[in-house]
């Protein structure tokens, strides 16, 4: 039996990890992920545990090799996005571009910014790393916040222009809706950035002790 849950955590990595572990405690094991959906299989309660690793700063061949290393260890791995965007696989829709340039391909590990690692819970609580690279996460989320804010701004301008320059209500509504979407994302990432920065500061304080 499969269960599908729609959930989006964006830049809140820990919240996502906690949630997956809670699901596992209740007997749900991750089977598949898409950008907004998690699919679960049934399993024994607390049979598995999950950890999330930030891999957006690594190149594709590193990620491929690292994943096969982890699978050799008997772990299962899934990739997950941080950002929400109009992309199918490696293809991306760029609404502001002209003609065929509206379709672009994505470089590197696009849409695979996180690695979800599943392993059997054996009572030994070892983390994958001695410490996550909190700074890399913060830098990345900041970039997302800025990009989303810029998209929102451009689309808002486009919306205003289409209100004043043309009679097409549909265009104005579409651009307005897209603009709101990106602004909401920007706020979401701004909050996540604050969280990430706090975590980074905490990690730095720990190191200084």
């Amino acid at each position: 039996m499969k269960m599908r849950v729609f959930r989006y955590f964006g830049g809140f990595l820990e919240a996502q990890e906690k949630w997956l572990n809670k699901m596992a405690e209740q007997g749900y094991r991750l089977a598949r992920t898409t950008s907004l959906m998690y699919e679960f299989d049934l399993c024994a309660p607390s049979q598995y545990e999950y950890q999330i690793e930030f891999i957006a700063d690594k190149d594709q061949s590193y990620v491929r090799d690292y994943r096969s290393f982890l699978e050799e260890m008997g772990y299962r791995t899934f990739t997950k996005n941080i950002n929400l965007n109009f992309s199918i696989g490696k293809l991306r829709w760029r609404p502001w571009a002209k003609g065929t340039a509206q379709i672009a391909t994505n470089p590197g590990s696009y849409n695979q910014e996180l690695l979800i690692v599943e392993r059997e819970r054996d009572g030994k609580l070892t983390s994958l790393h001695t410490g996550q690279d909190a700074e890399a996460v913060a830098v990345y989320i900041k970039k997302l916040r800025n990009t989303n804010f810029n998209y929102g701004l451009i689309l808002a301008l486009g919306c205003l222009l289409s209100i004043f320059m043309s009679d097409s209500k549909a265009a104005a509504i579409l651009l307005g809706a897209l603009s709101v979407f990106f602004f909401i994302q920007a706020v979401f990432f701004a909050l996540a950035l604050r969280h990430a920065n706090n975590k980074k500061d905490k990690a730095e304080n720990m190191e200084n002790v």
Binding site: Y66, L70, E72, M73, S127, H129, T130
Partner: protein, 109 residues
């Protein structure tokens, strides 16, 4: 993973990974080796171990040596250079132990 070598000394993780590879071994085997030898005191995270292995391969102290028959798990083994580094580390640690023993035992009198 940060530096393997600080002031000529190897980190504990590095030295243990090298010792685990005096016979060909795979990632999981290295992890088990370290866990057993230290009675569970030192348990490496998979990510840390992955970093350590890659680091040592790029230094040329260990090298991949094919796959385990049947499981296709990547095997690694220590190189000649690696052996020399390990021997030097052993000498350094013995010297350190001698000095420590001398001082600590004398202070007990």
């Amino acid at each position: 993973m940060r530096d393997n070598v600080r002031g000529g000394a190897l980190t504990e993780t590095t030295f243990f990974v090298m010792l685990a590879l005096y016979r060909p071994n795979h990632g999981y085997g290295i992890m088990r080796f370290i866990e057993e030898k230290t009675n569970g005191r030192l348990v490496l995270g998979a990510g840390t171990l992955y970093g350590a292995i890659n680091n040592l391969v790029s230094k040329g102290w260990i090298a991949p040596c094919g796959e385990e028959p049947g499981s296709a798990k990547k095997l690694y083994t220590i190189t000649e250079t690696g052996r020399k580094v390990a021997e030097r580390e052993l000498e350094r640690l013995m010297e350190l132990c001698d000095i420590a023993q001398e001082i600590i035992e004398r202070s007990g009198d």
